[in-house]
């Protein structure tokens, strides 16, 4: 039967109408089933899945955006705080520096005063010493001279005559020894 039809239709089994009805029937049945199951059960599910994902992603993006804004605000606050604290630190630094400088100046002044006083005191002493020393030296010179004379000639010499000689020498050579 098959061979006969194949021969009649020039070797194209597609043109053999023997199973056309069967093919139409099974096509309608399978395609119909496919269409009904896909459209009623499967495609709505896929569509819902896609919608859900879309909305969820949208929500996530919105949440992320919100958080980003919040963090930006926080960052600004943080920057402000840092700026403020920097200014404050600067102020504190300046204040303490001034204070320290003031302290140092006060102490320096006090010290200067003290030093000046000491210097004056010492100068006074030196002057006193300068003033008193020629007399003392004279005395010592007279005593030594009289002692030497005593030892040399073995007799007491009048102190007043020795002092006259020493005073005479002092008057002549005093400037050389005392720098006055």
């Amino acid at each position: 039967m098959r061979d006969v039809f194949a021969a009649e239709s020039g070797g194209m089994p597609q043109l053999n109408p023997e199973f056309w009805i069967s093919q139409i029937f099974w096509l309608t049945l399978t395609f119909g089933t496919l269409y009904i199951i896909l459209s009623k059960l499967i495609l709505p599910k896929i569509s819902a899945n896609l919608e859900l994902r879309k909305s969820q992603i949208q929500e996530n993006i919105e949440a992320a955006e919100k958080q980003r804004k919040e963090s930006e605000i926080k960052l600004k606050e943080y920057d402000e705080i840092i700026l403020k604290s920097r200014l404050k630190a600067n102020d504190i630094f300046k204040d303490s520096r001034e204070k320290v400088i003031k302290d140092i100046n006060i102490k320096k002044e006090a010290l200067d005063k003290q030093i000046d006083e000491e210097i004056k005191k010492v100068e006074k002493e030196i002057n006193q010493l300068k003033e008193t020393s020629p007399e003392k030296i004279n005395k010592i010179a007279i005593e030594i001279s009289s002692d030497i004379l005593k030892k040399l000639i073995g007799a007491d010499v009048n102190n007043s005559s020795i002092s006259a000689i020493v005073n005479d020498l002092l008057k002549r050579n005093g400037n050389k020894y005392y720098g006055n």
Binding site: R2, Q14, I21, S22, Q23, L27, F31, L41, Q56
Partner: protein, 244 residues
């Protein structure tokens, strides 16, 4: 008989002969592959829609990418008005694609290589689109045959051409798919026959061709399913949004 490249298109009965009245509706190898394709589609898309995770697994990704692919194809060609017909076009695309693809496996039967199958699909689309057109636009749908901006002198000729082109839609649609499938499979069978007849020495060249043709045919299998679906969208677009 085995060397005849047309043998692969023969339909034969599997199991007993079943008749409703005078009609023979026996289960055949063609019916078998229609059932296999349908079951495969249902299986894949059922698995792909079962779990709803934010990050999809592979099969879910496949299902969702197919969904968005067809959805985009429809909205690009026929606009938003075609949304109610999404399920049908999706089923159509998947059915044709799976029948084409199953045909690429050796020793299988290609359902879409039969003119009666493609013609029934195309005729159904043609009739449905025409009915939709008349429901949406009434007799205004006939304006489809009268393009705007045509000189009055040419109008009768243009109208006749438009009517002929409209009426030939189901034929062109069905023959395009059927002929592509049949030609590809016949060619592969012929080259396969050459491999055998030229033997171990000369058979390598047709074997190379056969391998290359397999790649080409897989491309054609996808492309023809796509073309079939997109032409359906375009016809639907004519019915939904009357442009002329």
């Amino acid at each position: 008989m085995a060397a005849n490249p047309m043998t692969q298109f023969e339909v034969y009965r599997i199991g007993p002969e079943v008749k409703i009245g005078a009609f023979d509706i026996s289960f055949t190898n063609a019916s078998l592959f229609m059932v296999i394709s349908t079951l495969a589609i249902l299986l894949i898309f059922n698995l792909g829609s079962k779990k709803n995770t934010i990050i999809p697994n592979k099969i879910q990704l496949l299902a969702e990418l197919s969904y968005t692919f067809v959805s985009k194809m429809i909205s690009d060609t026929a606009g938003t008005k075609a949304k109610p017909y999404f399920s049908f076009i999706f089923s159509l695309f998947m059915f044709v694609l799976f029948c084409n693809m199953f045909g690429m496996i050796p020793y299988t039967f290609t359902v879409t290589s039969h003119i009666i199958v493609t013609f029934v699909l195309a005729a159904f689309i043609f009739i449905s689109v025409t009915i939709i057109g008349f429901i949406k636009h009434g007799f205004g749908y006939l304006k489809l045959f009268v393009p705007s901006g045509v000189p009055v002198v040419l109008l009768p000729l243009i109208v006749i051409i438009e009517i002929i082109s409209y009426l030939s839609r189901p034929i062109s649609l069905s023959v395009r798919l059927f002929a592509n499938m049949m030609a590809g499979h016949t060619m592969m069978k012929v080259f396969g026959g050459f491999v055998i007849s030229l033997g171990i020495i000369g058979g390598w060249l047709p074997l190379t061709f056969s391998v290359a043709l397999t790649g080409l045919e897989i491309l054609v299998a996808f492309l023809q399913a796509y073309v079939f679906a997109i032409l359906t969208c375009i016809y639907l677009n004519d019915a939904l949004n009357l442009h002329h």
